[in-house]
Symmetry: C2
Subunit: 405 residues, 2 copies
C-alpha cells in the first residue's frame, strides 16, 4: 500500500495562497456592508470635519488675549454671544472678546482657541479666563481628521463597524464590495447518516457538516450543502458535478485511505488535478488539495478535530482570498504552559488549549485528546503551533496561542 507523499505545512500554504482565484464585484447599501470586502480604495471627497469644531463646552477666544492669564491674574473678556451646536457661526470674534461655544459647535472666525468652562469665571456680561490658552487648544480644525483627496480605506479591507463609521462620515452610502463566495460542502462516508436519523450500529451522525458550515458562516461565506455521499466514485462524482457552480468545494470524510482514494479518483475522473495529498501536520495529515474546473477542492480528514484544524490552517485562508480580503490579521495571545507538550520532529503540530487568567498571568493548558474526540472541542479557546523543527514545548515556557474564531 503506497504511503502518502506528504509536503510541509509551509509548502502547502504557499500552494494554497497562490491558487488563482476569480472574484466578482457588486455595489451594496452600507446597511448590509458589515464584514464585506472593499473592491477599491476609498478616497475622501471632502474635508472631515468640514469646519473647525470645538472639542469642549467653553469660550472661543483669541489666544493672544489670554497671554499671561492665571488663577490670580485672569484675563478679562467681554462675552460677545453664543454658538450652539448645529448652527453656522455667523459672528466674528473681536479683540478682547469671547464667545460661548458648545462641544461640537462651529468655531467662529477670529478665534484660535477654546478655553474650557472649568478655567473661566462669569462676571456679569464678562468672563474671567484663569489660564493661558495655546494656539489651537480644544479645536479640531477643518480637514484635520481627513483631508479631501486622501485615501481612508484600502482595497481588500474587511469592513469593521469602525470602517463603516468612516464611510458614513464621508456620506458613502453605497459600497463597492466583492461578491460573497459560495462554498459547496459534501459529506462523504458509508458510515455517515444525517443528524435526524438514529444511526444503526457501525454508523455515526454527520458532525463535520455542522462544524465546517458554521466556520464558513463565521468567515462570511455562503454555504451550499450538497449532501451525504457513499464511498464510491459514482456518488462522489455526481455530487461534485452538483457543486460545479460553487467557488470552492469541500469534501469532508476520508478518514481511511480507502475513502480518500475514492475522493481523489472522483476528482481525476472529472478532469481535475490532485495538487497535493498529505501534509506533514498533526492532526490533519491526510488532507487533499485539488483543482477541478479551475476551482479549489479540499478533501478534509474525517476526524472532527483534524477536519477543524485543516479548515483553520488551510481552507479558511483560501476562503479569504476568494472573498478578496487583504491583510487578514489573526488574533493571538500568549501565556505560560502548565504542561509539557511533546511533539514529533519534522511535523507541524497543532495542540488545542484552554486558557485561564490568574493573578495577572495567563496559563495555557494543552488538551490531550484523540483527534476523533469531540467533547473537548468546546473547551478549547485556541491552539498552539509546534513548528516542524521542534520536539515540543516545556512546562513553564511562554507560548503563543492562536485564538479560534
Amino acid at each position: 500500500m503506497e504511503f502518502l507523499k506528504s509536503i510541509t505545512a509551509e509548502k502547502a500554504l504557499e500552494i494554497i495562497e497562490s491558487f488563482p482565484v476569480i472574484t466578482a464585484t457588486e455595489t451594496i447599501d452600507i446597511e448590509d456592508a458589515l464584514d464585506r470586502i472593499l473592491t477599491e480604495d476609498i478616497i475622501s471627497n471632502e474635508d472631515i470635519p468640514p469646519f473647525s469644531r470645538s472639542l469642549v463646552d467653553g469660550f472661543a477666544i483669541k489666544v493672544k488675549d489670554t497671554h499671561g492669564a492665571k488663577e490670580t491674574a485672569p484675563s478679562f473678556l467681554y462675552l460677545q454671544g453664543e454658538i450652539k451646536i448645529g448652527e453656522v457661526a455667523e459672528i466674528t470674534l473681536e479683540n478682547g472678546h469671547c464667545i460661548y461655544i458648545s462641544t461640537g459647535a462651529m468655531v467662529p472666525q477670529g478665534a484660535d482657541g477654546v478655553v474650557m468652562q472649568e478655567y473661566t469665571r462669569r462676571m456679569g456680561d464678562a468672563i474671567e479666563v484663569t489660564k493661558t490658552a495655546y494656539k489651537g487648544e480644544n479645536i479640531i480644525f477643518a480637514g484635520e481628521d481627513i483631508k479631501k483627496g486622501n485615501k481612508v480605506l484600502g482595497k481588500g479591507k474587511r469592513l469593521s463597524p469602525f470602517d463603516l463609521g468612516i464611510l458614513s462620515a464621508l456620506g458613502v452610502s453605497r459600497v463597492p464590495v466583492f461578491k460573497t463566495p459560495v462554498v459547496g460542502l459534501i459529506s462523504s462516508g458509508d458510515e455517515i447518516v444525517t443528524i435526524y436519523q438514529t444511526p444503526e450500529l457501525g454508523k455515526i451522525r454527520d458532525i463535520n457538516r455542522y462544524t465546517i458550515s458554521n466556520m464558513l458562516k463565521k468567515e462570511d461565506s455562503i454555504v451550499k450543502f450538497i449532501g451525504i455521499v457513499k464511498d464510491n466514485i459514482g456518488d462522489i462524482t455526481e455530487k461534485l458535478v452538483s457543486a460545479r457552480e460553487c467557488n470552492m468545494i469541500l469534501v469532508s470524510g476520508g478518514s481511511s485511505k480507502g475513502e480518500r482514494d475514492f475522493i481523489t479518483a472522483s476528482i481525476e475522473k472529472l478532469g481535475g488535478e490532485i495538487i497535493f495529498h498529505g501534509v506533514n501536520i498533526k492532526p490533519g495529515k491526510p488532507v487533499i488539495f485539488a483543482k477541478l474546473w479551475g476551482k479549489p477542492v479540499f478533501g478534509l480528514p474525517g476526524h472532527p478535530t483534524s477536519c477543524i484544524m485543516v479548515m483553520v490552517r488551510f481552507a479558511l485562508p483560501l476562503v479569504r482570498n476568494l472573498k478578496g480580503e487583504y491583510g487578514h490579521e489573526e488574533k493571538w495571545g500568549s501565556g505560560m504552559l502548565t504542561n509539557n507538550i511533546p511533539s514529533t520532529y519534522g511535523i507541524e503540530e497543532y495542540v488545542r488549549v484552554t486558557v485561564k487568567y490568574t493573578d495577572g498571568r495567563y496559563y495555557i493548558t494543552p488538551i490531550f485528546a484523540k483527534s476523533s474526540v469531540i467533547s473537548s472541542l468546546s473547551d478549547a479557546a485556541g491552539y498552539v503551533v509546534i513548528p516542524e523543527g521542534r520536539e515540543g514545548y516545556e512546562k513553564g515556557e511562554e507560548v503563543e496561542v492562536h485564538w479560534f474564531e
Copy 2:
C-alpha cells in the same frame, strides 16, 4: 454650572452587570443556531461513539497475540476477514488471528487493540506484526468521548461551530436558545444629518449610528434604528416612546452638557431614573445610564471614539446579559510598548493601539488622536487599559491588548 458627579469604572460596571434583565426563550433549528445562547444544559442521551471504533487503518488484534513482537521477531497472525467503515462487525476475532479494519470502522468482538498498517507485513493469507501492541491501542471505545447522561454544554453557552458539532453528534437538531434582544438606537443632536444628505455648514453626518449598530450586529443582537432627534425634550421623549418595546435603548449624542441635559430630562419626564451620569474614564466620561420602563437606557457620548469605548466597556457586557450569555471571554494579547502612554491618576484610560509582529515579538503602538477623530479608528487593532491607580505605561513595558471585535 454643576459638574458631573462621576463614579469609578469598576462601580459603573458593577451597576450595569447587576441590572435585572428579562430573557425569553425559543427552540430553533440547529441550522440557525450559530452564536445563539443555550437556555439549558445539554445532557447526552447516548454514548459517543456509540460503538468502539478504530482510529487507524490496520489490523484488529488480541494484544496478547503480539506480546514480544518486534521487527526481527514478528508475531504471525492469520487474516480472518475485513471490517469496512459503516458496517456492523459481525465476526468475532479468534485467538492467533487478525481482522483488517479501516479508520472509523467498528472494532470486532474479541479485539482489544489495532495495529497500524505500517507495523505489519502481508505474508499470503497471514500478517506479520512487527511491534507489541498495548491494550486499547488505536481504539476509541464506546462512550469514551461522551458518556450517556453527561453534561456536554452548559446553559448560557454561546454556540460556536464546535459546539454545533457536539450537538450534531448527539442528534440535537432542535436547540433551546434565548430570544435575540432588540436594541433601539436613537441618534440625537441638532447638528446630525443622515448620511444621504450633504451637511450644511455647522452640521455633520450621523457616524455613531453605523458604528454602534454594527457593533451590536457583531454581538448578534437585532438593531432597531428609531431615528435622528433634535435637542429638545419633545423630540427625545417621542422617540424614546417609539423604542419602548425594545429590550435596551441607546441614545447616542450628547457631546455637550446642554445636549446631555435634554436626554436626562427626557428620561425623567417619562418616569425613568438616572442611575449614573459620568464615569471616571477617558474617553467616554459623560456616559449616562438609566432605567426606563424597567429597561436599561444608555446615553452615549457623541464623539465617535468615546462612543465606541463606552459601547465596548459598558454597553456590550449588558447586551450579553440580555442575550443570556454566560462566561464570555475577551480575546487579549500582549506585547511591548513602543512609546510612553501618559495617563491621569484616578481615571481609567483606554488607549487605542496598533500592533505589529516583528522577529517573534509583538510591538504595541498607542494611537494618540483626539476623541473626535475617526480616521485612525480603522487602524486600531485593540486598546490598552490604564488603570485608575497608574499614571501611564512606559516605553518598553509589556502590556496587554484587548482586541476589538
